[in-house]
């Protein structure tokens, strides 16, 4: 998908221009509009229900970034990513709840932002731990080791031990006012939305920049041909672990963000099916593409919301549907993936790329 077509009449005259993210004035205009849409229009106009849908989408994007990095860019298939999200969420929560912060730190609202970064680092290191087998095993075998991450982390360590810290029982809840960034207490949908939008923007930029610079190229090389990657001077084990670290870091940030949205935490938020779901998101969005993550997340969350609305509406006529919504959701997920694998195996982002090229080359498409 990397071959790009410039619009008719646009030529690059230096390398700087060719390396730019947004290469024409038109694209820059589109991006400014997108920023205005995200940061001004949506939070101003959307009601709290749709904002919560947006937050759900943002959370899915943040989680799926790491999955895309591992599966789409480095070729390391992971089915345990929810574990690293959980590590991030628990690290952040425990830091906010249990740690004795100096009073000025709390007054200035630094505890939660600080905990987001620590959550990222902890989840990154935890992820490296489960990435270690990737030095030796590939493909199917690696899937099993990442699944081990899920079961060891969430079902064993978090449920059995970490959840008991502080004697609150299974679920943690964060009292109002604890999640505070600077002067703002994150307590309603709009503030959560802004936090989400900032984090998603930063993380998406970081990933997009990484894959077009030295570390990202090394990852893609490992995906495409690990033997010649090593011959070209890439320390494969180091770069695989680095991929696990960055993916874990992003998952940790996602987890720490999620805490602000729910203000409560329990191991049930991070099931194995959530890991699987994230893989589905990138399959539908497009493996090996950054915009694929966003398209996939929007698609999956919106389809589920629409399904839910439809079920509630139809529930008036068929009461048994309400009981079975969970299964409807799961089958819709399966059906969507099957349909995409058959009809659009390169995902939504490929379709988007085709549409863009069509207009770039119009009216001389040959």
């Amino acid at each position: 998908m990397s071959a790009k077509f410039l619009p008719c009449g646009v030529y690059h005259e230096d390398y700087k221009h060719d390396h730019a993210f947004w290469q024409t004035k038109f694209v820059k205009g589109k991006m400014i509009l997108l920023f205005l849409l995200t940061f001004v229009f949506i939070p101003m106009s959307a009601g709290s229900y749709w904002l919560s849908v947006c937050n759900q989408i943002g959370y899915t994007v943040l989680c799926a970034l790491g999955v895309q990095l591992l599966i789409g860019y480095t070729g390391l298939i992971t089915l345990g990513h929810a574990a690293f999200v959980a590590v991030g969420a628990y690290t952040s929560t425990l830091l906010v709840l249990q740690f004795h912060w100096p009073q000025f730190f709390l007054d200035w609202g630094l505890a939660y932002p600080f905990s987001i970064i620590v959550a990222g680092l902890t989840a990154g290191l935890w992820s490296v731990l489960f990435g270690l087998p990737s030095a030796k095993v590939k493909g199917f075998y690696l899937i099993l080791t990442t699944m081990a991450a899920q079961f060891i982390t969430v079902d064993f360590i978090l449920t059995q031990y970490v959840s008991q810290i502080g004697g609150r029982g299974q679920a943690f809840s964060l009292p109002p006012g604890t999640i505070k960034i600077g002067p703002w207490i994150i307590d309603d949908e709009v503030k959560v939305y802004y936090l989400m939008a900032v984090l998603v923007t930063l993380m998406v930029f970081a990933l997009a920049n990484l894959v077009r610079s030295r570390p990202g190229r090394a990852w893609i090389a490992i995906r495409d041909n690990d033997i010649s990657a090593e011959v070209m001077g890439i320390n494969i084990v180091w770069y695989k672990l680095l991929a696990f670290f960055v993916a874990g870091f992003m998952a940790g940030i996602a987890g720490a963000f999620w805490v602000s949205n729910t203000a409560a935490l329990s191991p049930e938020h991070f099931t194995w099916s959530w890991s699987l779901w994230l893989v589905g998101v990138i399959l539908i969005g497009g493996v090996g593409s950054v915009d694929g993550i966003i398209f996939g997340s929007i698609f999956m969350v919106l389809v589920m919301e629409l399904l839910q609305m439809a079920t509630i509406y139809l529930g008036d006529f068929f009461p048994q549907l309400m009981m079975k919504f969970l299964y409807v959701k799961e089958s819709a997920f399966g059906l969507a993936i099957c349909a995409f694998l058959i009809y659009e195996p390169r995902g939504l982002s490929y379709r988007w790329w085709q549409i863009k090229n069509y207009f770039n080359l119009w009216p001389f498409s040959y």
Binding site: S2, K16, S213, P215, I220, A221, D224, V231, N235
Partner: protein, 267 residues
């Protein structure tokens, strides 16, 4: 290091797979600045020898020296950093990346960006990318005449061009020793002539002066290009000498054509 010094030395290298001796005590000296060819019938152990030199295999016995340094135990990426690059018999390009990205990847050991500066991109990484882009465009893409395909994914290119991209990627490393494992296999006549020209350019041009270790079956090209030819058969050295000496060596003729009297009985 000046021309004529020994750049690469194999000292009594043994490589066994189970009880099959792929290399049974091979010694080789490659001098700086020359094109040294390795020939031999199929299954003679040529590719195994190349894999030992760049570290994909570790020989059970014997030692390998590069620029006087013992590299027998080094991993392939560490050898790449010392200046050993290679191309493969079956092209091993990064199919999902564009031609430009493949060659950029060859610059890996010369780039410095890490995770943090890569994620921020602005400033250090952007400068570095542009600097190396200039090198790639002016030195490599220009030399190999692949301007027209620079933004195409390599996986979709024809075989001959893929081989050329692979050579470009190896050159981007600015190697001192370039291992070319059958660079001409599967190419048509015109492409063979181009490729032979590129190999000579890389070897002779003041800018590059790369020592080449060439594995090839096309005898015409081998005899034309090489300063020295090393003949390998059943994991053993048959002869190592100038093309003229090798061509007239009875052992070599035997290795390639078999015993004369066998042919006599068949007639």
């Amino acid at each position: 290091m000046t021309e004529g010094d020994v750049l690469l030395e194999l000292d009594d290298v043994h490589m066994y797979f189970g009880r099959v001796a792929a290399l049974a005590g091979v010694s080789l000296e490659v001098k700086k600045g020359e094109i040294h060819s390795v020939i031999g019938p199929n299954g003679a152990g040529k590719t195994v020898m190349m894999n030992c030199i760049n570290g994909l295999y570790h020989p059970q016995r014997g030692r390998i020296f590069f620029k006087g340094e013992d590299i027998t135990r080094l991993k392939p990426y560490a050898r790449a950093k010392l200046g050993i690059a290679r191309t493969f018999q079956k092209v091993e390009v990064f199919g999902g990346m564009t031609v430009l990205d493949n060659i950029r990847l060859g610059r890996h050991i010369h780039l410095k960006s890490g995770i943090l500066s890569g994620a921020i991109y602005l400033g250090k990484t952007a400068r570095e990318e542009i600097e190396h882009r200039e090198f790639i465009e002016e030195e490599i893409i220009d030399l190999l005449e692949i301007e027209h395909i620079r933004n195409k994914p390599v996986g979709m290119l024809p075989y001959g061009l893929q081989k050329r991209v692979e050579l470009g990627r190896a050159l981007a490393l600015e190697p001192e020793l370039l291992i070319l494992d059958e660079p001409l296999a599967g190419l048509n006549l015109e492409e063979v002539e181009d490729m032979a020209r590129f190999i000579l350019d890389i070897n002779e041009e003041e800018r590059w002066k790369v020592t080449c270790l060439l594995v090839e079956h096309d005898m015409g090209v081998v005899m034309d290009l090489s300063d020295h030819v090393f003949v390998l058969n059943f994991g053993l050295k048959v002869v190592d000498g100038t093309p003229g000496e090798v061509q007239n060596n009875p052992e070599v003729i035997k290795a390639y054509l078999g015993e004369e009297d066998i042919y006599a009985t068949r007639k």
